[in-house]
Symmetry: D2
Subunit: 312 residues, 4 copies
């Protein structure tokens, strides 16, 4: 029996990378190690085949192989969400049915860059509902930096109300704090069914403030998932200053890892250094780190270790 994705989901759904060998092939041994690593660090879910998972660079067959491997290794211990955004509904349906059959807990959908007005956006998600049906739990991804689609608070509330299967909002808009407060308030006031809100604003760069505004946790990627896990735990325990202390210790590196374009290479480099994945290879077209970049990372991780030791 698999873990369910539901409206009360909390904690950290880590956006994982897709490990490759140095020659660019899928690395399934590293995939297993990565799953174990994430679960050891305390994540409460995984999200695979997102943008940071290099999904568009995989063949159909590779995507299926990777999903299978992750689901087998997770073995029902936590819910696994699969990215299913697609320019067409036939491929979206095909992918969704395939991953749900394999044991995914749900899918994640962002709007295509071609929709712009409020009407276009809500009409698009009406078609998503028609495509996915009411039985597939899904995550609405609000990520304007990647999609170019700005969804106002009102539009998101409308989509949530109209979508029986949408149980979670991945909130990545910026500045998103006001939006997050407004959606949380509407959900608390019973204007719509409760929805889980996990945040990824700037790759988690606003996590403590977002938790204070009512977020249920984070859905984002970072080479140190324990940061999000520990910040969420301290915050949930009422220790807000401790949550900030931990967050601040990781912030210099998190900021470095969130640089546009080279961010994924930074993340994979650190995961390799931590022994999680065997190779830092990113498929083309993709960034490569220079010696200077690696020196920056070495300095930042050393400083991070020192600061965490000071904090205890």
């Amino acid at each position: 029996m698999n873990s369910q994705l539901d409206r009360n989901a909390k904690g950290v759904y880590l956006i994982t990378v897709t490990p490759f060998t140095d020659s660019g092939a899928l690395d399934l041994a590293s995939t297993d190690r990565m799953v174990d690593f994430c679960l050891d660090k305390g994540v409460t879910g995984l999200t695979i085949l997102g943008i940071m998972g290099e999904a568009p660079k995989l063949t159909m067959e590779e995507s299926r192989t990777f999903v299978k491997q992750v689901l087998a290794r997770v073995n029902g211990r936590v819910p696994v969400v699969v990215g299913a955004s697609s320019p067409g509904f036939a491929p979206m349906k095909e992918l969704t049915q395939s991953v749900m059959a394999l044991g995914a807990a749900g899918v994640m959908v962002a709007p295509p860059s071609t929709v712009r007005t409020d009407d276009q956006i809500t009409a698009y998600f009406d078609m998503v509902n028609e495509t996915l049906g009411a039985d597939v739990p899904w995550v609405l991804q609000d990520h304007p930096v990647a999609t170019g689609v700005l969804m106002s608070t009102g539009v998101i509330l409308k989509i949530l109300k109209n979508s029986p299967g949408c149980v979670m909002l991945k909130h990545e808009d910026s500045p998103g704090l006001a939006k997050l407060s407004a959606i949380r308030a509407a959900s608390d006031k019973g204007e719509l069914k409760r929805v889980s809100i996990l945040t990824g604003n700037g790759g988690g760069l606003f996590l403590p403030e977002e938790l204070t505004r009512g977020a249920d946790g984070a859905m984002t990627g970072f080479a140190y998932p324990e940061m999000m896990v520990d910040v969420c735990a301290a915050h949930a325990a009422g220790n807000v200053e401790r949550a900030h202390d931990l967050f601040d210790a990781y912030l210099p590196l998190a900021r470095y890892e969130q640089q546009a374009n080279i961010g994924l290479a930074v993340r994979k480099h650190i995961l390799m250094k931590r022994g999680v994945i065997a190779s830092e290879a990113v498929r083309k077209p993709g960034p490569k780190l220079s010696a200077q970049d690696m020196a920056d990372i070495a300095r930042l991780t050393a400083r991070q270790d020192k600061r965490l030791a000071e904090l205890g």
Copy 2:
């Protein structure tokens, strides 16, 4: 033995639609009728699975089925080009190998919207060359309206020089006349190997002027492919005024069919009215015509018939 795509290609490579039944399934009988219709009208090639072919709305399996059906019906009489633009190189390679094995004459590649600077664009096409190899003939698609990528004349010349397999330029930039003249001149002066230049600027809305600038023909879609065929023939025969006369007769409808967003619905509606395809269905998300739109089309086709009769 299949028709080859080569550097001397001339005439009209029609961008075809993908016919669906009213319920949205692939319509293979209409596909055969469409192929016959195009060949009857005198096209010298076909291009399938382009943007106007609703490629992103097909499943992998449907794409393969459609390509097979077209290639079988064409049966080597004219070259068939297949759109292979993709955000990743693994899927691009997979699709290319698959369609070439089925008998395609070549593939067409446009840059992804994520490349912007000259260096990024040329680096991208270096990777395309690496992916396709030197043996697959391919078409460089320069279509900024759809891709958001502006390729200067200098960049296009650089790509053409660096790409042994690139035998054709699909020229859709606007204003593209100056660019077309410059690329043709460079090719004529021997600065690079000859390349076939087929144009699609605004869906062929500048065809006579483009032929005067040295284009070898058109690669675009229109519910009246005979327009492009006849204009090219008149022009090639040195009868430039006749080419303009014919073009002008079709221009009011061509302009109407080139409207952003509803254009494809207009094209399919006319093809249905002409008995080529059984249904005018466009897959979601896609446009629908109103009764007023259909009345406009009826008026314009009636006027077009009248004007063509006057011209003889």
Copy 3:
């Protein structure tokens, strides 16, 4: 006493160019000739300092001089609208007060590219209303190609309802026919006060169809304003086929003049050839025509003359 801009405005409001001398100075003698030319051809209004009027390339002082010159020459015979779009409200107010004091009939405002969602757009126009007050008649410009702002039918209706001073819609969205029908219907059904709708879709490339949908006329630029005047007149007289005949005669050149980027140079070149302005100079950064471009224009104008003679 000046002509008023009101909710019943009809006919052709020509978007004028701003004439320069060969050395790039404002050419006031050509400005006078251009005003006379437009009025002789039968336009019912003028719109100055729009995008095609090179407004952003003028100094404050030059703008004021040009507005004064046009208003003096028009001398109240037709309403003159002045473009007042601005990234800030203080400059918008300053410019509006200045031109209204000089005798303008109203101003035209397009949204800035920074607004995206329905809420942002309507909030922006609330601030426009606050800035302009209820006494300045203004034109809402819906021109997504230039602004990047998509205003849905619902948003436009909301703006029109909330804006006591907005008496006219310059409709340039594409595909805009459905939108035009919907707004006209809402106005006819009394859902909002009547508003004049003048169209400029693709520079008037859909004028006959737009008139059939209920447009009151055109607000756009073309080196042959008599085209729009005569098409509107034939249509108003119930002679729809004649309106199409005239339109079709001008369409090949109109299409050529609507090319992105070089369009303004084409327009100024023709106006110079017609003796309206002394120089075809466009201020930098701006396009220049090649000998081939000029040959195209010469061919198209000769063909146009011939076709108009045939039509009688």
Copy 4:
């Protein structure tokens, strides 16, 4: 005699806000206080009328008044750079001549969003050189997030080589570290005249890494200019770890102040709290802070004070 802007400029050129009263009028008393505050904190230059200075929201007259006031208060103690980006060259020239006559040390120019290809960008800056002449020192602003214009390293080097008056690069591209390294290296190798490189990547969010790559300092805004001054000083003294310690102490607040859209409101709120400006008013259209935002800021400034005290 005024301070000069030259190729060896170092330290911190602060991008200032433009202070308004609560009712939205220019606040000249706060302007004076702000100038004194910046100079007290040790900035080596000021940059006014940038995007964060709400320049487009000022009337011509207000701009001139503000520039005069700042220059009078600075009284030649540090160079003052004025933003002169403009869609047209006539207004750019007018503004430049006006502010240079008033005593500005130079102007700053970013490319307009309409240029895209390498050729378009370099052609644009050829026209900038023509407009400004060789005697006005100017700053090239590379800020793709705001302009949408991506300038590759090669393009920037070309502009620098072709521009006798361009003495400084304001480097705000992201990820910009590799670009910064390449430009610094080209300048060090004598491929071009030395140019001062001041950085503003993410509002200074990468300052220590940028200094390591050879940046001469920062040109950006932050409510705590002493952060940049102290980080630059520690780095210049060879105390890189100390530079990082200081930077990290300010980073949580700096990150908060760099949020898209509300960032300027955060900055003005803090400057008001610090007693620098009388009102936190931002002109419309502009953001407003909520009580929750203010609580966030209060927490972050308290934590920052504590951490700085720990560091000594």
